[in-house]
Amino acid sequence: MVERSGGRLRLNRRQVLSGGIALAGGLAVLGGASYGQGAPQPGGTLRLAQGADAQPKNILAGRAGNNTWRHQVFDALTVLDSETGQPRPVLATEWESSEDGRTFVVRIRNDARFHTGRPLTAEDVVFTLEQVMVPENASQMAPLVRAYTSIEATGTHEVTITSDTPVAPRVFDVFQLAVILDMDTFSGLADGSQVVGTGPFKWVDWVPGASLRLERNDDYWAPDQVLLDGVEISIITDSTAMANAMRGRVDMVLAMTPRDAIMFRGNPGVELIEGPGAQIFPLGLNVTAPPFDKRELRQAIGYAIDRQRIIDQVFNGVGNASCLWWRSNEPGTTEEMVTHYHYDPERARELIAAAGAEGAQVDLTVIGLAPVPAIYEIVQNNLREVGLNPMGQVVETAAFDQGQTAGDLGPAFQQIHGLQGFSAATLVDALPALRDTNPSKFTPERYRELKDALQSAQGDAYAPALVELGQFMLDEAFSHILLHTPPLHAKVQQFQGFTFNNVGFLHLAGAHLNG
């Protein structure tokens, strides 16, 4: 794992956050408590602060505001482990794939109950997967599920999925995002009046834009995992105010900006942790129109940008300069691929000269969402240094997203993407910068072929397929990833035993306040 090659201290810190994983698997819960202060005591209410509001209506889609409570109220069939990126069971007990991978059977627990008291059955799983397909639910996994030929309950606690292409391993991305919903109360999700799952905590009270309160589920199927009495989440949209809440008002602040985190450096009572679930910042180039129809010029942009300066000055040193579109723990990732594009203005100038594009005007559309405009200021400076003429236009998020959905953002554009931690095979069709309707208008046949090859690769065939696709994409340079920035969380010392999964969602089963 390339991004984890830090020193001892660093490793230790990482361990706390990316966390050992201990739900159904029965593994030990990592964190301070496991270093022997006796068994964690139950009780206490955990107070969290986050910047984005909860969006129960969009529970089937990846949404920052749902990361903190999604796995408290709901359980998934499987979640992706933050160390290995591999699935581990939660509601699922076992699964098997047919020889050709086109039939996939998953069996689920028979002792799980919804908060309404109704036992979980295979029908609920089928219902949930069907909801993933419904366009209104805006799930990023919709295209995957729609490609299945059938989803059936083949027993009270067994679901069978068939497809024309292999179902696994991408089905685990679907399972990670599609937490199992209660079909009886599904309509209550729209306004958050009824939010019912099988998770360790119950949804009690939501004041939109202000706060969310959860309380312990006494009937959880793994009762010894529920140690906290409840969870209080404050929604504080201003980043500085949110960080300030750490001064005694909350036990944990999620996803603070590095700028605000500085306040807590050297503060012994506050622990800063870099979680999984990073944001990535693509700089896309339209390959169908001048000047970026020339590949040399596209590659030049990759060498022109001083990624480390962006990390140092915009993100106060938090982030890594990987130029890949997925997390570095994906199988097959090599150091060469991660650092393929690095700051080399001399080389950029040579490539620009080779493309005959000296002084070319670069019209950049920039999403007006912090911190992208700040990154643009350095990009602009870098592009000028190598003899290009950047003309940026910062566009309000609402308008920018419309262009992104339509696949139309002009000759060059700076986006912001999440979904890090899902498999590369899924991301190449889910990320707007990479999917077939990408605004770079990059759609050669070979691109689709390589994607298909990766998506049907089984077992050990996955890594080489990913390397081939990744190298093709790097070489074509239609979308440059400028950097990955991990979410920065702060917590009090006493709060222990929590975990994050590979996509950065919080798990509070096993968490306690007396570390």
């Binding site: 509001d53 969006q55 209506k57 969009n58 889609a61 990846g62 949404r63 419904v134 366009p135 209104e136 805006a138 990023q140 919709a142 295209p143 729209a190 306004d191 958050g192 004041v207 939109p208 834009g209 202000a210 929604i235 504080i236 949209t237 201003d238 500085t240 105010a241 300030n244 809440a245 008002r249 309000e396 998020t397 609402a398 308008a399 997203d401 419309q402 992104q404 959905t405 339509a406 912001i416 993407h417 979904l419 889910a430 990320l431 707007p432 309707t437």
Partner: protein
């Protein structure tokens, strides 16, 4: 008074109707789409289209307006497109924060305004007068957001006396709540207070010229009492009207003040609603702001008449 209200009614109704049309059309004229906000940045065109239909945004604009106005008349403020919660409920959830700010600011505004005004109106010469006049001029010309930033720099950073951002309800933790409230409330109140001070000062000069004051002096009433009882009583009307008009501005100023001091109130809700294109919320906020301004204006005219018998409501 009822005659007065009846005469005012047509123009008030006209103004509110015009505002409702503006409030309804403005967010829809802007680019962007609430369906896109709900569908998210990663959404496909198909997902966005499906959500548009779900929200009823595919219907003709006049039909949407008619439905909104009809609902409004029966007291239904509509449902937020983004959170699917009743707009009234969303407003109530944020009202407390803004109300705390507005009350604190109004108290400061009235106290400082009247205090400064009487002081400036009583001192008639010398360096004190020039200094006060200067101070009032500076405060008057500096809007709340600039005052707020200066307060942050001075009280928050240089002297580190008060926390610079965040919010805790005064009801929940009075001490922390008030310490977080002082700077934003002061920032909002100062320019308005200066305005009131100016008006009172001017009115005091004016009243002093009037006959009944001469009469009082002739009768041997001590000068201090003249200032406090006679003149002040007669200047209050102006102050009340000024305060009334200022309360509307106070709410408007709250938008920027809430952004600077990171308070989660109605102003911030309005800005958020604009950027997420939550038409239903934007409409109500714009209309509500104007309704409040109109009501406050009417009310202060009535109060003025009650305070000063020489004024007839026209």
């Amino acid at each position: 008074m009822f005659g007065f209200l009846a005469r005012r009614l047509p123009s008030v109704v006209f103004m509110l109707l015009a505002t409702s049309v503006i409030a309804f059309l403005l967010p829809r004229l802007a680019g962007g789409d609430p369906a896109q906000t709900i569908a998210g940045a990663d959404a496909t065109a198909e997902q966005v289209a499906a959500i548009r239909v779900e929200l009823g945004l595919d219907q003709p604009v006049y039909a949407q307006y008619g439905r909104w106005l009809g609902d409004l008349l029966v007291g239904d403020l509509g449902t937020s497109l983004i959170t699917s919660r009743p707009v009234g409920q969303l407003i109530m959830a944020r009202l407390g924060s803004t109300l705390e700010l507005a009350i604190a600011a109004t108290v400061l505004m009235v106290v400082l305004g009247i205090g400064l005004g009487i002081l400036a109106g009583s001192i008639r010469k010398g360096a004190g007068r020039a200094g006060l006049d200067g101070a009032v001029s500076v405060l008057l010309a500096t809007p709340p957001h600039v005052t707020g930033l200066i307060l942050i720099l001075v009280l928050g950073i240089t002297f580190n006396l008060l926390p610079i951002s965040g919010e805790v309800s005064v009801l929940r933790d009075p001490l922390v709540g008030i310490s977080l409230l002082i700077m934003p409330a002061l920032a909002l109140a100062l320019p308005q207070a200066a305005m009131i001070a100016r008006l009172i000062q001017a009115r005091m000069y004016q009243v002093r010229q009037e006959e009944f004051v001469d009469l009082a002096i002739a009768k041997g009433v001590p000068p201090r009492r003249i200032v406090l009882s006679h003149i002040l009583r007669n200047s209050m009307g102006t102050a009340v009207v000024a305060t009334g008009i200022r309360v509307g501005e106070l709410l408007a100023g709250a938008v920027v003040i809430e952004a600077i001091f990171a308070r989660n109130g109605l102003g911030l809700m309005a800005v958020d609603a604009v950027s997420s294109r939550d038409y239903q919320v934007v409409q109500i906020v714009v209309l509500g702001a104007v309704v409040i301004a109109v009501l406050v204006h009417l009310l202060s005219e009535i109060l003025l008449a009650a305070l000063d018998p020489r004024i007839r409501l026209q």
